[in-house]
């Protein structure tokens, strides 16, 4: 039951995003199941262009996170708006394991610490980041905890064979 404001906003967003990201696949997500109104899928870097479009539509950067898939990392950028016709945009950006994407902290200063957390957990280094260092783990830690290869404890094998 999206309101007209939402529909209008979605249309505007879709047009400006397709103009800014010709190579991206922009589909309107099914809010009931995935919680996002608009999905942008990019195979390569383009997060600054997405951020620029979002910034002048007065969206705020809800969070940046990453998921460690076997072949590649997937960076997730979530934008949503404060104002009445709520709309959430999710940008999935597939990057290679050793790629180093560009930081968006020039557009959203809040992203400095979000990107530091992703570096801390996944080891993804962001280009031109003001001070890229670990945020949660001890500074001399040499591991990246949220990688799937880290810490495959005996526990997880145990669970796999019993329950699955």
């Amino acid at each position: 039951m999206p309101t007209e404001g939402q529909k209008k906003l979605l249309e505007e967003l879709k047009n400006s995003l397709t103009r800014a990201l010709p190579e991206g696949r922009i589909t309107s997500g099914d809010y009931a199941r995935t919680g996002c109104h608009l999905e942008v899928r990019l195979s390569d870097v383009g997060m600054r262009r997405v951020a620029a479009v979002m910034k002048d539509k007065r969206f705020h950067l809800e969070t940046i996170t990453a998921v460690d898939f076997p072949g590649s990392f997937e960076l997730i950028y979530l934008y949503s708006t404060y104002y009445d016709d709520i709309c959430r945009v999710i940008a999935h950006i597939q990057i290679l394991k050793d790629a180093s994407p560009h930081t968006v902290s020039a557009i959203y200063p809040g992203a400095i610490w979000l990107e530091r957390e992703i570096y801390d957990f996944f080891g993804i280094r962001f280009l031109d980041h003001p001070d890229l260092r670990r945020i949660l783990n001890p500074d001399n830690a040499d591991y990246f905890p949220l990688l799937k290869t880290f810490g495959k404890t005996k526990l997880t094998e145990e669970i796999d064979d019993i329950l699955c």
């Binding site: 009931a32 199941r33 995935t34 919680g35 996002c36 007065r58 705020h60 950067l61 809800e62 969070t63 996170t65 998921v67 460690d68 997730i76 979530l78 949503s80 404060y82 104002y83 009445d84 709520i86 959430r88 999710i90 959203y108 200063p109 809040g110 400095i112 610490w113 979000l114 957990f121 670990r134 945020i135 949660l136 783990n137 001890p138 905890p145 949220l146 799937k148 880290f150 810490g151 404890t153 526990l155 997880t156 669970i159 796999d160 329950l163 699955c164």
Partner: protein
């Protein structure tokens, strides 16, 4: 108010005085290390250093089955444990398409709103103690005991509840809980008059909070600030109203918003928000439907593959679970978007130019829970 000296001013550099506020400090509400660069009493730069209570909830999520992550959720933000429980259960229910009976939804809303009141009580009174008034802290503590007793009667524990399950709640609420809640709400309304006389109208409190630590709407947008800190700056954003979930659409309550964006505005927003929570509880208690409290759910659930982002409103702001499931019994990735993470780092923009006392007041007014940042 003060002529803010820029950090790279040459004359400043040899007078810069580095002070470690924390990690063990009476007013950082948890293990937060705020590295302040001072020129005399004026803060020039603030660099929050976090990670002291990092337990790796997200890594734990990848080593446990879906049910076993339940106790973790209420330990991410221990002050609004029930709200996080409800959020996680609703996210997984939305992913698997599990139906939740009407009565369970109402009980979840009642217990979450009670939890929000207890969290606001502690947040406000700890903030007032940072300003220097000890006595209101203990009055707030006394009220909070009543909420904890009520929730102990229903859920069995006082702080880290694990009360919600997939498909509903663990056990039903009895009539004594409903009467106890109504008595508590009348008692708290009576005490609000005392709090306003003792704190809000107090000339010293007004002088310490009016026009201090102003967060503009623009800064809030850039840093992704949400919750009472945002509503204090004039933006009417509350997930319960903007993205209604559970049975919130059936209650009419309005969102308190203030324009000034200073410490006093955030304090007043929290006080007004408690009154709104009380309205919600009363309306929920009045038309509490009958019926089961838990729909039949298999013992170990297997959600379909896919990803979901579910946002809900905790006492500190908009929380979000981003869950990636690959169809097995163990979640592939759970990212918890916590409001305190974005709210805290606004300090790097807001603190420069204030006194130390204002820095403490601003930190208290943002009501940061540090384990929520460190996850």
């Amino acid at each position: 108010m003060l002529n803010i000296k820029t950090i790279d001013d040459a004359s400043i550099n040899e007078r810069v005085y580095q002070l470690n506020l924390g990690p063990q400090h009476p007013s950082t509400h948890g293990v937060l290390h705020l590295l302040l660069k001072l020129d005399g009493e004026v803060v020039i730069a603030a660099d929050p250093i976090v990670g002291y209570s990092h337990r790796g909830h997200e890594k734990m999520a990848e080593n446990r089955i879906w049910e076993q992550f339940l106790p973790n959720t209420s330990r991410i933000d221990y002050l609004s444990g029930l709200i996080y429980n409800q959020g996680y259960c609703m996210a997984v229910e939305k992913l698997c398409g599990i139906e939740v009976p009407e009565r369970a939804e109402y009980i979840r809303v009642i217990t979450s709103e009670l939890n929000r009141i207890s969290s606001h009580l502690l947040g406000i009174m700890a903030f007032v103690m940072d300003i220097g008034a000890f006595t209101p802290f203990l009055y707030g503590w006394d009220d909070r005991e009543h909420v904890l007793d009520l929730l102990e009667r229903v859920t069995g524990s006082r702080l880290t509840y694990c009360y919600n399950r997939f498909g509903g709640v663990r056990n039903d609420i009895d009539q004594e809980f409903c009467d106890g809640t109504r008595r508590f709400i009348d008692r708290l309304r009576g005490r609000f008059k005392d709090y306003h006389n003792l704190i809000t109208e107090n000339i010293i409190f007004i002088k310490r909070t009016r026009g201090v630590g102003i967060i503009t709407e623009e800064t809030a947008l850039e840093f992704g600030v949400t919750g009472p800190s945002l509503r204090g700056s004039g933006v009417n954003y509350d997930v319960r109203k903007n993205e209604p979930y559970s049975v919130y659409p059936e209650f009419d309550f309005e969102i308190p918003v203030r324009k000034e964006g200073d410490v006093m505005a955030r304090y007043q927003v929290r006080m007004a928000e408690m009154e709104q929570s009380m309205n919600i509880i009363e309306q929920a208690l009045d038309n509490l439907p009958e019926g089961p409290v838990r729909s039949h759910v298999p013992r170990f659930i297997d959600p379909p593959a896919g990803d979901i982002y579910f946002a809900f409103e905790s006492a500190r702001g908009a929380v979000g679970y981003y869950i990636v499931s690959d169809g097995t019994r163990v979640p592939y990735r759970i990212k918890v978007r916590t409001p305190s993470f974005s709210n805290l780092f606004v300090l790097t923009r807001v603190l420069p130019g204030n006194f130390i006392a204002d820095a403490i007041a601003t930190l208290g007014s943002i009501d940061v829970v540090v384990p929520e940042i460190d996850r």
